[in-house]
């Protein structure tokens, strides 16, 4: 059984770790800071229920994950603007009336080497940060947190899994184009 260290030491030990975790998921520094604070305050309250089954760090990250999902749920509930309009004309830009490509799609060479380097990831981060919030969150929940489609729909208030898959498909198409321009063509 592990024991909790004194709360005064949490910030120095885990502050930046929690901040980085939140920043990747929210893409918003001020909000990420707020989530870190919320996490520490919730952890203080829940101190007595820490069972010592996990490390202090993963216990705190677990609390942070809940806080982030709660936040996403809340803003998604309040969201009245419909997502469907966004990226809607993307397929029409890429395909003709018969559904054939209008543009060439040339292969990205040597993916294994690219994945070992940093450049591809950096450009992906840049491309992701250009997405509207909702699409950003959707992509992160799916590809980084590995949540199930039904869970993502519940959190982001998306009516059907089929809608989610269509949105993900457009998001990937958009990201692919961004990577093609800013990474592949500049190599």
């Amino acid at each position: 059984m592990s024991q909790l260290s004194h709360p005064d030491t949490w910030l120095d030990r885990y502050g930046n770790t929690l901040y980085r975790h939140a920043l990747l998921r929210l893409n918003n520094p001020a909000l990420a800071e707020e989530m870190v604070q919320e996490t520490f305050l919730a952890a203080l309250q829940a101190r007595s229920s820490f069972a010592g089954k996990s490390s202090e760090k993963s216990w705190l990250i677990g609390i942070l994950k809940h806080k982030i999902v709660d936040h996403l749920r809340k803003v998604s509930r309040e969201q009245t603007a419909d997502y469907r309009g966004y990226l809607e004309d993307l397929p029409a830009q890429n395909f003709d009336e018969l559904g054939r490509w209008r543009i060439d799609i040339s292969a990205w060479s040597d993916p294994d080497r690219a994945l070992q380097g940093e450049q591809l990831r950096k450009v992906l981060e840049m491309c992701l940060s250009r997405l509207p919030e909702r699409f950003y969150h959707m992509f992160i929940l799916k590809e980084i947190d590995g949540l199930k489609s039904t869970e993502i729909c519940k959190i982001l208030n998306i009516s059907t899994t089929n809608n989610l898959w269509v949105m993900l498909s457009r998001t990937r198409m958009q990201l692919r184009r961004c990577l093609d321009i800013h990474w592949f063509n500049k190599k």
Binding site: P7, N16, L23, F40, A107, W108, W165, V166, L168
Partner: protein, 85 residues
């Protein structure tokens, strides 16, 4: 016969769910004949792998809480912790 537009959507779907066999076969057939869609799917896989790496590279990143945020949080923790001491 699938169009490229349909094939790309289906290709994306294979990353999200278990696509029924019939549709998988239709996609495979299309890919056999379509270089662009083959490249497209390969790029989806590359993006998927790169995205997974983001989590660990972000944790080893250099972003830090700003000094102001740090101070603010420190104060809040101290305040919240006081009655319990």
């Amino acid at each position: 016969m699938l169009t490229c537009r349909e094939a790309t959507e289906l290709a994306s779907k294979t990353l999200d769910m278990k696509v029924p066999l019939r549709q998988r076969m239709a996609l495979r057939l299309h890919l056999l004949m379509c270089r662009r869609c083959r490249n497209y799917l390969a790029q989806l896989y590359i993006m998927e792998r790169a995205a997974r790496q983001l989590a660990s590279s972000a944790m080893n990143g250099t972003q830090r809480l700003s000094p102001e945020a740090r101070e603010r949080i420190r104060e809040r923790i101290k305040k919240a912790g006081e009655p319990a001491e």
